[in-house]
Symmetry: C2
Subunit: 229 residues, 2 copies
DNA sequence: CGACTCGTTGAGACAACTCAATGGGTGTGG
DNA sequence: CCACACCCATTGAGTTGTCTCAACGAGTCG
């Protein structure tokens, strides 16, 4: 409802966990709150990592272009997530492009600024390490999934992960908030577009999900988890 | 040649990069050098992360058991690599089991010790962050590979990665030092055992690799890189 | 009312998987 | 030192799940 959110409501998310008030204050003062329209890009794959973002509201899609020029969706990020953290902390070019999928607000630090703050405040460093560690772990899990699960199980896993990352509770189930097309799911699972469509169609007939245009509502997470296993 | 390597030769690898001498000294003093026989395990999947390892010599295989009980190889680690870093820094159970594939020596810190050192020495923290960041990045790359490359390309990529991680220069090519079986390659690529055997057989006929029992020598990395692309 | 994007469905092809049988190394124990 | 068991690898034949290609349907936007 507030167009300009109150300060206090911003001092949450990955970088702020377990900070004492003073440090949180300093961190927040250094940040700029930027607004992005749906479709606006936060940064491009290959860019030098000049800024770090933490999503306050809305959601962001991370995509990557392979050498053959095909685009693939890596993941979505929602409120509290750090976008571009690995690249900024490691001073590597961004390995992906970040795009807002809906009107999105993000706290924003310049790379030099955040690196400096980290040097001065070990607690911030610790949060950074935790976040990057989480990301590494998620990727290991996803990698393992790719090799030892079948297509249906992978689609189920991705749906559940999306629910966790950008899910929004609705009357009868959890809706995936970001406009997630079949193509996105296809790219995140390594399953072809058409097969995803068929699998989701089947699940809708069984009442596990409800489908719409660029819209997926998960009705029965339990059953999905079973399929994912 | 030295059975007991000299101190100086140990103060290298992931955690020691860019440390001033004093800090390196402290870090090294806190470490224990442990020897592992081929087949010995450094830690088990699911264990509490009580120790951090940095490989000094030899090599280590990281494997993971999925819910169905099948074992899959995640990756190999060679000299200078930090084993178990994500788990230790994040205080998560180890997500994989680490086994020495040949006689291996590793520097070894207790979790509380290394976390304490990191708190006291930001430079060590920074190295930790860099290492975890690298790992995250590698995983993202591998994930992308899985979704947008075909089987041959994936096998080629994994071979090249193995060369980089545990390769050893020989007279006519680079040998993959760890006993890497077809099964290992199969699990790292998500390609069936038999298909891997056929692909490698084909490459041997073309002179790209030379094969032996649990042994792969890469003769023509350039051509492999081409196939991987 | 087009033009566009997103989604569904069907039919056919083919690459990779499964299953089964065989062949060599390696190491161990009598 | 031989014989046996075990592990790793190869190869063939048959099957199938997934991809490809093509056509159509439906919602959305200007």
């Amino acid at each position: 409802m507030d167009q300009v959110p109150r300060r206090a409501s911003l001092a949450h998310g990955a970088l702020f966990t377990n900070l004492d008030e003073g440090t949180a204050e300093i961190l927040l003062d250094a940040a700029t709150l930027r607004q992005f329209a749906a479709g606006a890009t936060l940064f491009h794959q290959g860019d030098a990592p000049s800024q770090l973002f933490q999503v306050s509201s809305g959601s962001v899609r991370l995509t990557r272009v392979n050498p053959e020029g095909e685009q693939t969706t890596l993941r979505f990020m929602g409120a509290g997530d750090l976008v571009g953290c690995v690249a900024v902390f490691r001073r590597f070019p961004f390995p992906a492009t970040a795009t807002a999928t809906e009107p999105t607000a993000a706290l924003c630090w310049s790379a030099v600024q955040i690196l400096d703050l980290m040097r001065r405040h070990p607690a911030i460093s610790a949060n950074a390490l935790d976040t990057v560690g989480d990301r590494a772990r998620e990727m290991v899990d996803r990698l393992a999934e790719m090799t030892d699960k079948g297509t249906e199980a992978r689609v189920a896993s991705v749906l559940l992960r999306l629910v966790g990352q950008v899910g929004r509770n609705g009357p009868k189930g959890v809706e995936i908030a970001s406009p997630a097309t079949r193509k996105d799911v296809s790219e995140m699972t390594g399953v072809s577009y058409f097969t995803v469509s068929r699998i989701l169609g089947g699940w809708q007939r069984q009442g596990l999900v409800r489908l719409g245009r660029a819209r997926i509502v998960v009705l029965d997470p339990g059953r999905l988890a079973q399929i994912a296993a």
